[in-house]
């Protein structure tokens, strides 16, 4: 889920670590987590949104390409993964923050109730907001694919 927010692998690792540290601290301080699954998703999505938001405010001197770092296993996989990521991330970036979160949670196979709890959208509005967000993505993904094929 974390890597679906346009974060790098290294950022994703840090975020996941942060999430589990918070979970540990929550239990350590005697707090209870009623629904660990939604709790983890909620904390992770909050950190992701903060990370992406913070990144927008800072300027990167140099962007390190993950391809150059040889992080992925094979070259084919690398290119395919990167292309997929580019298309979907470009399309997702046009959505509002909450819509983006809902689509990501939806792709995780979560129920409407879980999506509602994590994103803060009313349960009755989940299907409406979700169908709208998916409709918005439809033309964007089509044009993205066409652009990619033309290249």
């Amino acid at each position: 889920m974390v890597s679906k927010f346009s974060v790098s692998r290294f950022e994703a690792e840090d975020i996941v670590q942060e999430v589990f540290i918070r979970l540990y601290l929550q239990y350590d301080s005697g707090g209870e987590v009623e629904y660990p699954k939604t709790w983890l998703y909620k904390v992770a999505s909050n950190i992701c949104i903060n990370t992406v938001g913070r990144r927008k405010q800072t300027k990167h001197i140099e962007t390190v390409n993950e391809l150059d770092l040889g992080v992925c296993d094979s070259l084919e996989l690398k290119i395919e993964e990167v292309e997929h990521m580019k298309i979907i991330q470009k399309a997702l970036s046009t959505l509002k923050e909450q819509e983006k979160l809902m689509v990501i949670l939806y792709s995780e196979g979560l129920s409407y109730k879980e999506i509602s709890t994590i994103s803060g959208v009313r349960f009755t509005s989940v299907s409406k907001s979700l169908s709208r967000a998916l409709e918005k993505l439809k033309p964007l993904l089509k044009t993205q694919y066409h652009e990619m094929l033309n290249q």
């Binding site: 890597s3 679906k4 690792e13 395919e80 993964e81 409406k128 998916l134």
Partner: protein, 152 residues
């Protein structure tokens, strides 16, 4: 029944429709090819987006290994008890010595008859009267100045 909204179709795709609505929608689909087509389209779109998003997920570089120890050596309970008793004894001895070194009992006040008489005399005198001075005789001898009371 009216044609289904996008919201209703989405609920149907995601299995979030109630049983009552489900039968109603199915009956509607039998008579409305337009809605059925929309349903198929929306279904394909939802699946495509899901697949695309999940395909973009990078597999983790490494999963940290957790090595479970084969044999766990538990400390002997008897040893622990002896050690803890020794620790308590050492602590108590050191506390006792510190207390002994620092504690000084207050000196008991043992006034002599002279002290008591002097105290009473001084306290019975009014400061503004010369009575006290009259009762005192100052005697000087080789040892220095001495105060003597007239009634002595």
């Amino acid at each position: 029944m009216k044609c289904l909204t996008n919201e209703q179709i989405q609920q149907l795709i995601d299995g979030e429709t109630s049983t009552v609505d489900l039968t109603e929608y199915q009956q509607h689909f039998n008579g409305c090819s337009h809605c059925k087509e929309r349903y198929n389209e929306q279904m394909a779109l939802s699946q495509n987006i899901k697949e695309l998003l999940n395909a973009s997920v990078q597999s983790p570089e490494r999963i940290p290994e957790f090595r479970i120890p084969n044999k766990v050596i538990k400390p002997k309970l008897k040893d622990i008890r002896i050690i803890s008793w020794l620790e308590v004894a050492a602590l108590l001895i050191s506390v006792f010595f510190v207390w002994k070194m620092t504690y000084k009992p207050e000196e008991e006040l043992k006034p002599t008859a002279e002290n008591i008489r002097m105290f009473e005399k001084c306290n019975n005198v009014y400061a503004n009267t010369a009575t006290w001075r009259d009762n005192v005789i100052i005697v000087t001898d080789v040892n220095g100045i001495k105060v003597q009371y007239a009634d002595k």
